[in-house]
Amino acid sequence: MISAETFKTWSIGLQASDRKAFAALFNTMRTPLFRYAWTFTQDEEVCYDILQEVFAKLWEVRHKLDEDRSLKALLYQMTRNKALNYLRDYGHRMVGLEGQPEPLYGGEQAVAAVIDAERLQDEVSRCVAALPERRREVFLLSRNEGLSHEEIAAVLDISPRTVNNHLGFALTELRSKLIAFYEGGTA
């Protein structure tokens, strides 16, 4: 994982119009941001456009960057805004985060021998989907994008304490439902 320090040096480089730093940043973030945008638009072509707009905008405002604020969070925030704007202007589709996720079985499960892994995954999907909207978005930014509390706070423009609360409630709820499922499933 790229460290916050590296993002900081890129931020400093960008302020000085360093094209190499800009290129390194693009190469690092292009795939995560594309996939993040897709969770909103579910349209790959739109995601390529969003990616291009985000980085063009970033270059435009490079002199105003503050290296003490997370550049990674800024990129997620810009991507989110562009995606939401797209949905507002053209979207008749549901926001990705709103839609009922397609339940899938993935990865090796340590407990596969004991329980029906697919049923568990279904249950987890249902639990995640049933979280209140903001809470689910906080949870998915933490889980899918690997963002820190501070970064999530910056993306959603809420306080880190609020992020912490949302995540705490989300994890508690998921955990208790998982435990209930285990107990019910193995009984």
């Binding site: 400093i12 480089g13 094209r19 292009r30 969770t39 090796e108 955990r175 998982l178």
Partner: protein
């Protein structure tokens, strides 16, 4: 259909720490279970690399200026010889120092000895220089300040590692190491010059501003975020600067260890210096390379614990320090 998000089974350290902060009473095992079971459910498509390259081409064509700004792009190439001459011609004294090195630079009748700051193992020191510049000197390092510091040139000599915040000024600020020289006007940068590290090299990482690095007969300019290395004792060789993932260059300033594919030998030396202990290990283990990030560790044992956990090794206390061994 298989879940394409295979990378999600590995829990990044930061997210784990955040989850622990959010749910302090929950044991790690339970969080791991949650982590595995909440793998991304949607099949998020991976972008086509070809299309991404097209996106970048569009950005380059439409957004980036056609003419390179002075401080970008060109900084990777060594400065041509002619400008080197002009760059380095600043006063006879400095030139003499350049040719003869520090020891011979002191004339016999020179009244002032160099001021030496010796930082022991397990110590760090903040040194304020007369012009307002600051040197943060890492453990087991020595910083010597020339007696005529600031007259024609602000010169210091470094054995070990230090981070410099240089005040802007007319007089060039020069850091000399056993095989290299770094020359700046006002900037922030890190110099690591450990001649005894197995690999005799001076590593320079630039955080802000601009510096010139001289090794042997060559000079390169560094741009922010870049690092370069001068290798060798007799005939030093200069590496082309690269925008490396250089957080490790500044890790010591934040009390962290950030080892990027480094040998166990180098790691244990650095850990030993920072905590003031001797860490022994067999020569074959010393050659093994690992990547490791350790945050804010106060105790040497907690560092060794993590190191051993991730490398499959064990450690034990021995007289005067610790020993790392294969279980």
């Amino acid at each position: 259909m298989k879940n394409p998000n295979q990378e999600s089974s590995v829990m990044p350290r930061t997210v784990l720490a955040d989850w622990q902060a959010a749910l302090p009473e929950v044991e790690a095992e339970s969080l791991e279970l949650l982590w595995q079971q909440t793998a991304p459910q949607q099949v998020r498509p991976r972008p086509d690399p070809q299309r991404l390259n097209e996106v970048w081409a569009n950005i380059e064509a439409n957004t980036l200026p056609k003419i390179l700004p002075l401080n970008a792009g060109a900084s990777n190439a060594p400065v041509p010889a002619q400008s080197n001459l002009r760059f380095w011609a600043y006063g006879v004294a400095a030139a003499v120092a350049l040719l003869l090195g520090w020891g011979l630079f002191l004339r016999p009748n020179d009244p002032l000895p160099p001021q030496e700051i010796v930082v022991q193992m397990a110590e760090e020191r903040e040194v304020r220089l007369t012009d307002g510049s600051i040197a943060y000197v890492n453990s087991a390092s020595k910083l010597s300040i020339e007696p005529n510091y600031g007259e024609k040139v602000r010169a210091v000599r470094l054995e070990g590692e230090a981070f410099f915040e240089v005040e802007k000024g007319e007089k060039p600020f020069v850091v000399k190491t056993f095989n290299a020289e770094v020359k700046v006007l006002g900037t922030k940068f890190n110099v690591r010059a450990r001649a005894d590290n197995g690999t005799a090299e001076t590593e320079v990482f630039l955080a802000e501003g601009k510096v010139a690095l001289k090794g042997g007969a060559e000079v390169v300019m560094l741009a922010p975020g870049q690092r370069s290395v001068v290798k060798g004792l007799e005939t030093p060789v200069l590496e082309v600067p690269s925008a490396h993932h250089t957080s490790d260059a500044l890790a010591w300033r934040a009390g962290r260890f950030d080892f990027n594919d480094e040998s166990l030998g180098e790691m244990t030396q650095e850990i030993g210096r920072r905590f003031g202990v001797v860490i022994k290990l067999s020569p074959d283990l010393a050659q093994r390379h690992h990547t490791l990030l350790l945050q804010n560790r106060k105790e040497v044992t907690s560092v060794l614990e993590d190191l051993c956990l991730s490398t499959g090794l064990r450690y034990r206390a021995i007289h005067g320090g610790y020993e790392i061994f294969k279980p």
